[in-house]
């Protein structure tokens, strides 16, 4: 008598909650984490950016009025902020093409059956895994005025030296980041190269194509989707620089020539206690990165 309604109830429960509702409990800690660490701060960031937000003593409740786009206006008319976005543009123009070309060329060289592959892999990959603070310390010494790089260059050494020269500070950071991140992109390309069918290379060879022609007409189109990924990741990395300008060029120096938006978020939001304009810079940065990624995606698809 009771069997049928009980089965109905189980079926109903299965339809509403799923066959193993305990799964919701298993996923709950992760969902709480996402709510507290991502969703709430994301909403809070938008709130701060549109309000006259400032830090108060604990327990003191002061009105923080809605100010519309005021924070964005003051950010977009701040020459420091505009300069930081221009600096990022300089960085990207150097870093992104260099990254894509070097990563693809080195991955192609590694892919075609050389010996000591794992030794090369370690050499290329270790900078990516190592803390930027460590490597920035080393580069700072190598590129200092009396450092090894200048003593090798001798009379060709730039004056003022790399990191204190406003024309060279950002390019030096771009070189550093290219060097640090390249191993990761080489690995991405290596995985992609293994999916390019051998037959395409072989048929190109029977058509009399030389190594360069095969690289251009078989390899490059074969890894196009990974190139898009590399472009987007390199743009995101470049837009989010903080450690490098903070340490390598001593706080975005000389005189703001290597300041980045994230460095300004730190300086304005935390050092100068203006979280509202800092949040506005953050939102602008995300919008710019999003647009650039769309462009990268579009350009690479048509090319």
């Amino acid at each position: 008598m009771t069997a049928a309604p009980a089965a109905d109830r189980v079926r109903l429960r299965t339809r509403v909650l799923g066959a193993q509702p305990i799964g919701g409990l298993f996923a709950l800690p992760y969902l709480v984490f996402v709510g507290v660490i991502f969703a709430y701060p994301l909403g809070f960031a938008v709130y701060i950016a549109f309000h006259d937000y400032f830090f108060t003593a604990p327990g003191v409740d002061v009105a923080k009025p809605f100010v519309g786009f005021d924070n964005f206006v003051s950010v977009l008319t701040d020459p420091q902020v505009l300069r930081s976005f221009r600096n990022t543009a300089v960085f990207l123009v150097i870093n992104v093409p260099l990254t894509v070309v070097l990563a693809l060329v080195l991955a192609t060289a590694l892919d075609s059956g050389v010996r000591w592959v794992s030794a090369y892999r370690i050499a290329f990959y270790v900078p990516y895994l190592t803390a930027s603070v460590s490597l920035v310390g080393v580069w700072m010494l190598l590129f200092s005025s009396g450092g090894l790089v200048n003593s090798v260059l001798g009379p060709l050494a730039p004056s003022p030296s790399w990191l204190i020269n406003s024309a060279l500070a950002m390019p030096t950071i771009a070189l550093y980041v290219t060097w640090k991140q390249l191993g990761f992109y080489i690995l991405l390309y290596l995985a992609a190269l293994q999916n390019v069918p051998r037959e395409r290379h072989e048929s190109a060879m029977t058509d009399g194509a030389n190594a360069w022609e095969r690289f251009v007409h078989v390899t490059v189109p074969g890894v196009r989707s990974v190139t898009t990924l590399v472009l987007i990741l390199a743009i995101i990395t470049g837009a989010n620089l903080f450690t490098e300008p903070y340490l390598l060029t001593n706080g975005g120096g000389p005189d703001g020539a290597s300041a980045t938006p994230v460095l300004l978020i730190y300086q304005q939001g935390i050092q100068q206690q203006n979280p509202d304009t800092a949040a506005a810079i953050g939102m602008l940065l995300v919008i710019v990165v999003g647009l650039l990624s769309l462009v990268a995606n579009r350009v690479n698809r048509e090319a």
């Binding site: 909650l17 799923g18 193993q20 509702p21 305990i22 799964g23 919701g24 298993f26 996923a27 800690p29 992760y30 996402v34 507290v36 660490i37 991502f38 709430y40 701060p41 994301l42 701060i48 060289a109 075609s112 059956g113 050389v114 794992s118 050499a123 290329f124 270790v126 900078p127 895994l129 190592t130 603070v133 460590s134 490597l135 310390g137 580069w139 700072m140 190598l142 090894l148 003593s151 090798v152 690995l187 991405l188 995985a191 290379h201 990924l229 989010n240 903080f242 450690t243 903070y246 340490l247 001593n250 938006p261 730190y266 939001g269 935390i270 979280p275 949040a279 953050g282 995300v286 990165v289």
Partner: protein, 277 residues
């Protein structure tokens, strides 16, 4: 592929690149043990002047052992959260049919797209002022407590296990938690190693977040201590180069050793997961 006479070009290219890549590490390790790290090319292979004094010099200004211990506590906290809650979430996503699974999956993809820099200011306000967790290990760990990439890796590995095994265990009356801990988790041990390695690097190398929320030097992880030494202390020191390199080597050493030992676990497909989601 390619004609044999071009092979040497390939080796030349790779070897030159590898030397450029490895050189700063060579400079770091040799300089860390040199009384006066060289600034000239003719002195790149020193035969004398070895010392441990650089480590003592940096240790006198920032407590090396304490800083490395702080890095370890920070990293272990993240690993613990990621392994425990990541296994639970990954198992649920791969093997359990529950309401909201699809939405959770979408959420995992969205999380990968939110840049930390956008969250930096609100998280700082929330964690230091809202939760009062400034200058605590918990505040340091919280934003990284469950690595979403790890949840993806666990999900993939759990999905690859045969369905019959789970059905048999359920018929035998095993609860889901028991299936996870005694059957499923031991079978995905390679995933566990990969997750631990991939997750370790993040907090160990992280600078920005612990730098923001730790003012107390006795709580700062090694990356923050070294950065403070470089930007504040070094200028007032007579010969800071050796000390900087010693600190850099101490921070880099654990990760490099882990990578060389467990190289085969760092595969491109896992990294692909890490970025593509």
């Amino acid at each position: 592929m390619g004609r044999p006479r071009f092979v040497w070009v390939r080796y030349l290219l790779l070897t030159t690149a590898a030397l450029i890549f490895a050189f700063p590490f060579y400079f770091m390790v040799v300089g860390a043990f040199q009384e006066a790290p060289t600034n000239t090319p003719d002195n790149l292979f020193p035969t004398s002047g070895w010392t441990l004094g650089n480590f003592a010099a940096i240790d006198a200004r920032v407590d090396l052992v304490r800083s490395l211990l702080n890095s370890l506590i920070f990293t272990s906290g993240v690993l613990l959260g990621t392994v425990v809650f990541g296994l639970l979430a990954g198992y649920a996503m791969a093997r359990l049919d529950f309401r909201g699974r699809g939405a959770t999956w979408v959420l995992m993809l969205l999380v990968q797209m939110v840049p930390f820099q956008l969250l930096m200011i609100p998280l700082y306000v929330q964690i230091t002022r809202g939760f009062g967790l400034g200058d605590t290990y918990l505040g340091m760990i919280a934003p990284f407590a469950i690595n979403t990439t790890a949840v993806f890796i666990f999900t993939q590995f759990f999905k690859a296990l045969p369905q019959e095994m789970f059905e048999a265990a359920r018929i035998d009356g095993a609860g889901e938690l028991r299936i996870l801990t005694s059957i499923a988790a031991p079978l995905v041990r390679p995933a566990l190693v990969t997750v631990i390695l991939v997750t370790f690097i993040g907090p160990w190398n992280e600078f920005l977040w612990p730098f923001l929320i730790t003012k107390d030097a006795s709580l700062q992880p090694m990356a923050v201590s070294l950065a403070n030494y470089i930007s504040n202390v070094a200028q007032s020191t007579a010969n800071p180069n050796g000390a900087i390199l010693a600190g850099a080597a101490a921070l880099a050493f654990p990760v490099v050793v882990l990578f060389v030992l467990f190289q085969r676990y760092f595969t491109a497909s896992d990294l692909g997961t890490a970025v593509k989601g």
